[in-house]
C-alpha cells in the first residue's frame, strides 16, 4: 500500500517535471502567438471564418489539456497543427453526413477545362515554362498568392484537394469522407490542380496569354 503510494507519487513528480519542461512552450500566452496561423490554416480547409475560430479555440484548449503529451522533439506549431487537423476532420466528418455535398457543383469548372483544351483535346494555349519555381518557395509573397489561389477554388474541389495535400489522406479515405466515387474524387483533384496551375500561371509566374 505504502509502496504503491510512493510509486504513484514518483510518477506524479515525473509528470510534473515533464510538464515543467514543456510548460513554457505550451502556456496560454505562447499558444496565442500561433493562433492566427492556425486560423488561416483552418479557414483554408473550412471556408468559414467563424467555424475556423471555433475549431482553433478547441484546438488550443485541447493543447493545454494534453500538454503533458507534447514532446519537445516536435515544434509547438507542428504539434498544434496536428491537433487542429483532427479537429478539422471531425467537422468534415459531421458535414459529410449532412446531405449538402453536391459533386455536380463544378459546372463552371467543366467550362474551365473546355477553355483549356480544344475540341481535339489539345491545349488551346500550351503551358509555358515557369521561371525558378524552387526559389519561389522562399518568397513570402508567393505564399500569399498560393493561399489566395486555393481560396478561389470552388468549395468541393478545394475540400478534396486539401484533404489530399494538406491532410495527406488517400483518395479512398477522401471518397469515404465526401461520399463520392473514386472517379469523382480523381476528377475533383485533377480540376483542383488545373485551376491552381492556371491561377499561379496568371498571378505569379506571369505567363499572360
Amino acid at each position: 500500500m505504502l509502496l504503491s503510494t510512493a510509486n504513484s507519487h514518483s510518477a506524479q513528480l515525473k509528470r510534473h517535471k515533464t510538464s515543467m519542461n514543456t510548460a513554457r512552450a505550451i502556456d496560454p500566452d505562447t499558444l496565442q502567438t500561433h493562433r492566427s496561423h492556425l486560423v488561416r490554416y483552418a479557414i483554408l480547409q473550412l471556408r468559414d471564418p467563424h467555424l475556423a475560430e471555433d475549431v482553433v479555440q478547441e484546438t488550443l484548449v485541447a493543447a493545454i489539456e494534453s500538454r503533458d503529451k507534447f514532446s519537445a522533439q516536435s515544434s509547438v506549431r507542428t504539434w498544434l497543427v496536428g491537433i487542429l487537423k483532427h479537429k478539422i476532420m471531425d467537422v468534415l466528418r459531421k458535414r459529410a453526413r449532412e446531405p449538402q455535398l453536391d459533386v455536380a457543383e463544378g459546372e463552371d469548372e467543366g467550362e474551365l477545362i473546355d477553355a483549356l483544351f480544344n475540341e481535339h483535346g489539345r491545349w488551346s494555349s500550351p503551358p509555358q515554362t515557369w521561371a525558378n519555381p524552387e526559389q519561389t518557395m522562399e518568397n513570402a509573397h508567393f505564399w500569399e498568392v498560393f493561399e489566395q489561389c486555393n481560396q478561389r477554388m470552388p468549395l468541393n474541389t478545394a475540400r478534396a484537394f486539401m484533404m489530399r495535400e494538406f491532410m495527406d489522406m488517400t483518395t479512398k479515405e477522401i471518397c469515404q469522407e465526401l461520399s463520392i466515387s473514386t472517379t469523382n474524387c480523381w476528377v475533383l483533384l485533377h480540376r483542383a490542380r488545373l485551376t491552381l496551375r492556371e491561377c499561379l500561371d496568371l498571378n505569379w509566374f506571369g505567363n499572360v496569354r
Binding site: R40, F117, P126, W130, P133, M137, E165, F166, W186, R193
Partner: protein, 58 residues
C-alpha cells in the same frame, strides 16, 4: 494515343493512385512529343510539393 486532355488527367492521377505500366508508357510517349504537357507535369509536381509545404508557410 492520348491527347493532352487525357494525358493531363493521367498525370494528375499518377499523384493519387499507382498507374499501370501501359498508362506509364502512354504518358511517356505523349510527353516526348508535347512540350506543353512536359511543362504541365513539372508544374503539377511543383504544386504538389508547395501544397505540402503550405501549412508551414502560412
Amino acid at each position: 494515343m492520348l491527347n493532352c486532355k487525357q494525358n493531363t488527367e493521367l498525370l494528375s492521377q499518377a499523384l493519387d493512385r499507382p498507374v499501370t505500366f501501359r498508362e506509364k508508357v502512354a504518358m511517356r510517349f505523349h510527353l516526348m512529343m508535347c512540350r506543353g504537357c512536359r511543362n504541365f507535369e513539372k508544374q503539377v509536381a511543383f504544386i504538389h510539393k508547395a501544397a505540402r509545404e503550405l501549412p508551414r508557410k502560412l
